[in-house]
């Protein structure tokens, strides 16, 4: 692909590496293909695509065309890297390996191993997309922000959560709220003040997910006030 004798400037070496990615996966019989170190070539394109996917999903309203094209390209790359690998979903938190990890792999064996783990993560990501996932970066501290993109499954959220009356399923927003917690006498309503939900109402995005600190606080409150009469419910 670089056969036309173009002058390459020093500062364009990075671009040259990226270009060689293109060359690497094309017909290796092409006379002008420069043999780049395989690990840099293959994984950088994969990583780039995953980064683009993450970036796209993080938008509040993803550009569907961009998203679909990136996902399809990622699938092509994935398929060409390890076409025969089939992996069972592994229930560990998905973490996209950094580029430096891939750069360290210097042999084909190491390449396959790192590719396998990446594929594993990607299939894990796609498997997780069934479960409700917050699309926004915010989340309980400690969870890697980029760690749980929900691929296209998260796009389900675009459907029901809209003012568009043409789209049915507004009821779907409210279907999976467990209201039994509100029926219980012991439940302290101040929990609503602890974690103010987003403007777009309850539903998959706003399902109250109290972390341990908040639960502890609640327990203290419950234990402390149980001896007294039931406190008035604020905000109701």
């Amino acid at each position: 692909m670089l056969s036309k004798g173009l002058k390459r400037k020093l500062e364009e070496e990075e671009e040259k590496e990226a270009l060689e990615v293109d060359a690497w996966w094309l017909d290796p019989g092409h006379p002008a293909v420069t043999q780049a170190p395989p690990t840099v070539a293959s994984s950088s394109l994969f990583d780039l695509s995953v980064l683009k996917l993450h970036h796209s999903l993080r938008q509040s309203e993803p550009d569907l065309r961009h998203l679909v094209l990136v996902v399809n390209t990622l699938r092509r790359i994935q398929a060409s890297m390890a076409p025969t690998v089939t992996l069972p979903p592994v229930p560990s938190p998905p973490v996209v390996p950094s580029v430096s990890d891939n750069l360290l792999a210097s042999s084909d064996t190491a390449l396959s191993a790192s590719m396998a783990s990446l594929l594993e993560d990607l299939s894990q990501i796609e498997g997780l997309s069934q479960a409700p996932q917050p699309l926004a970066d915010e989340g309980p501290p400690g969870r890697p922000t980029g760690g749980a993109p929900s691929s296209l499954g998260g796009l389900d959220l675009l459907g029901p959560a809209t003012g568009c009356l043409l789209d049915d399923g507004l009821e779907g927003l409210f279907e999976d709220i467990d209201t039994s917690m509100y029926d219980s006498e012991l439940w302290v309503p101040t929990s609503e003040g602890l974690k103010p939900g987003p403007e777009n109402g309850p539903g998959k995005e706003g399902a109250p997910e109290l972390d341990e600190a908040e639960l502890d606080y609640l327990m203290d409150v419950l234990v402390g006030t149980q001896a007294l009469e039931r406190p008035p419910e604020p905000g109701r």
Binding site: M1, L2, K4, G5, L6, K7, K9, E12, E15, A18, L19, V21, D22, W25, L26, L45, L48, K52, S60, E61, D63, L64, R65, H66, V68, L69, V71, N72, T73, R76, I77, S80, E126, S129, S151, L152, G153, L155, D156, L158, G159, A161, T162, G163, C164, L165, L166, D167, P198, E199, N200, G201
Partner: protein, 409 residues
């Protein structure tokens, strides 16, 4: 044809209409009217801001002295009416010049009010607002030849509207899968046939075109014709799909052909042949070896428009570095021109440009590596009857005219 440059004017999120300010000053253009079409909005349900950025503008066929146009942002379409006033009545009997009622005792004779010329006043008023029809981002609007309906397309759906009805639209195409995880293709552009009001076409991110007949069914999910070119195995790469994504589709004025633009080419399709296009023109094939870099900087996702001239003999599209390209279908000759202040003076003839890829380089050639990818010509338009073109280059709008042949050839 020799193209002359008119004075460039500014264009921004406002809809700006241009016209000559004096008939004798050739090639001098002034702003005709400016108005704010859309304002930023906030979708409270999704906590999202909807940008006021306009995606498409379409003129309606003129039916009286006024002009009408449709403009759309991501979610809302608006119908605007543009009227001119260049005369005003003077000499009322009961009102004075300021419009105040006269004291009747001072009126001693009757006069007939006359129309006197005044400075041109352009009035633009919103006539309809078509809202809440789309969940996803609107990418095209197209007015039907019946002049009563129009369609709007977003990534997954196409709606049919009546120009007089704003609270209702009919969904005519829906490609949203039951499970969004199965989504692999989106709608990228759509257009009504220029003569047959029941026919329309829409393009996809996979490079296919679907011609639909609204008489066949209420929901046109089944196409009447599917136009798709099989992938060339020798040029297959990871980016094959991205570069095959059609960014614009336009019927020829004759209605016999369609023009499509994908990342590297423009193609002419014959409605009678679904298997492949009848003509393919390379817009900037020198970018084929740079697809990875263009993927990295997202330029590979740029959406270029394309246009026919009035006689369907020449097609035009934009490129990078403020270049735009014209292809003569009959002579098979093509030209690259540049839209920029530096390279053109008023009434100057545009000089053809050349991009060189190898070591052989002529004096004014631009090398591929020097192309400025931030200067993109995404929007181009050709006057339906005359050899006048409009080229949008970032913040500037250029209007060029062919002085040698002002009529179509």
């Amino acid at each position: 044809m020799r193209w002359h440059q008119a004075v460039p004017q500014l264009s921004h999120p406002w809809v700006s209409l241009q016209s000559k300010n004096a008939p004798h000053s050739q090639g001098e253009y002034d702003v005709y009217s400016t108005f704010q079409s859309h304002e930023p909005e906030f979708d409270y349900l999704k906590s999202l801001e909807i940008e006021e950025k306009i995606n498409k503008i379409k003129w309606l066929p003129q039916q009286n002295a006024a002009h009408s146009l449709l403009s759309t942002n991501d979610k809302t379409i608006k119908l605007w009416k543009v009227t001119e006033r260049d005369k005003r009545p003077e000499g009322y009997n009961l009102k004075d010049e300021e419009g105040k009622l006269k004291d009747l005792s001072t009126v001693t004779s009757l006069q007939v009010p006359v129309l006197k010329p005044m400075d041109l006043m352009v009035e633009v008023s919103p006539r309809r607002i078509f809202a809440n029809g789309h969940t996803y981002h609107i990418n095209s609007i197209s007015v039907n030849s019946d002049c009563e309906t129009y369609m709007s397309a977003d990534d997954l759906r196409i709606n049919l509207w009546h120009l007089a009805v704003t609270d209702r639209s009919f969904n005519i195409v829906d490609i949203k899968p039951a499970n969004m995880e199965d989504l692999t293709e989106v709608i990228t552009a759509s257009e009504f046939h220029p003569h047959h009001c029941n026919l329309f076409v829409y393009s996809s991110s996979k490079g296919s075109l679907r011609l639909c007949d609204m008489r066949a069914a209420a929901l046109c999910d089944k196409h009447s014709k599917l136009f798709e070119e099989p992938e060339d195995p020798s040029s297959r790469s990871f980016f094959s799909e991205i570069i095959s994504s059609v960014s614009d589709v336009k019927f020829s004025h004759s209605g016999r052909y369609m023009l499509t633009r994908d990342y590297l080419t423009v193609k002419v399709w014959d409605l009678n042949m679904e298997a492949r296009p009848i003509e393919t023109y390379q817009v900037h094939d020198y970018l084929r070896s740079k697809l990875c870099s263009l993927y990295e900087n997202d330029c590979i996702f740029d959406k270029f428009e394309c246009a026919w001239n009035g006689s369907d003999s020449v097609i035009m599209t934009g490129a990078y570095n403020n270049f735009f390209r014209m292809f003569d279908r009959n002579s098979k000759r093509d030209v690259t021109l540049e839209a920029s202040r530096e390279s053109s003076k008023p009434r100057a003839v545009l000089k053809p440009r050349r991009v060189c890829v190898g070591s052989k380089r002529r004096r004014d050639d631009i090398s591929v590596d020097s192309l400025d990818f931030t200067k993109k010509i995404l929007h181009t338009a050709w006057h339906p009857a005359e050899n006048i073109i409009a080229i949008a280059a970032t913040n500037n709008l250029y209007i060029f005219q062919d002085k040698v042949n002002s009529d179509m050839h």
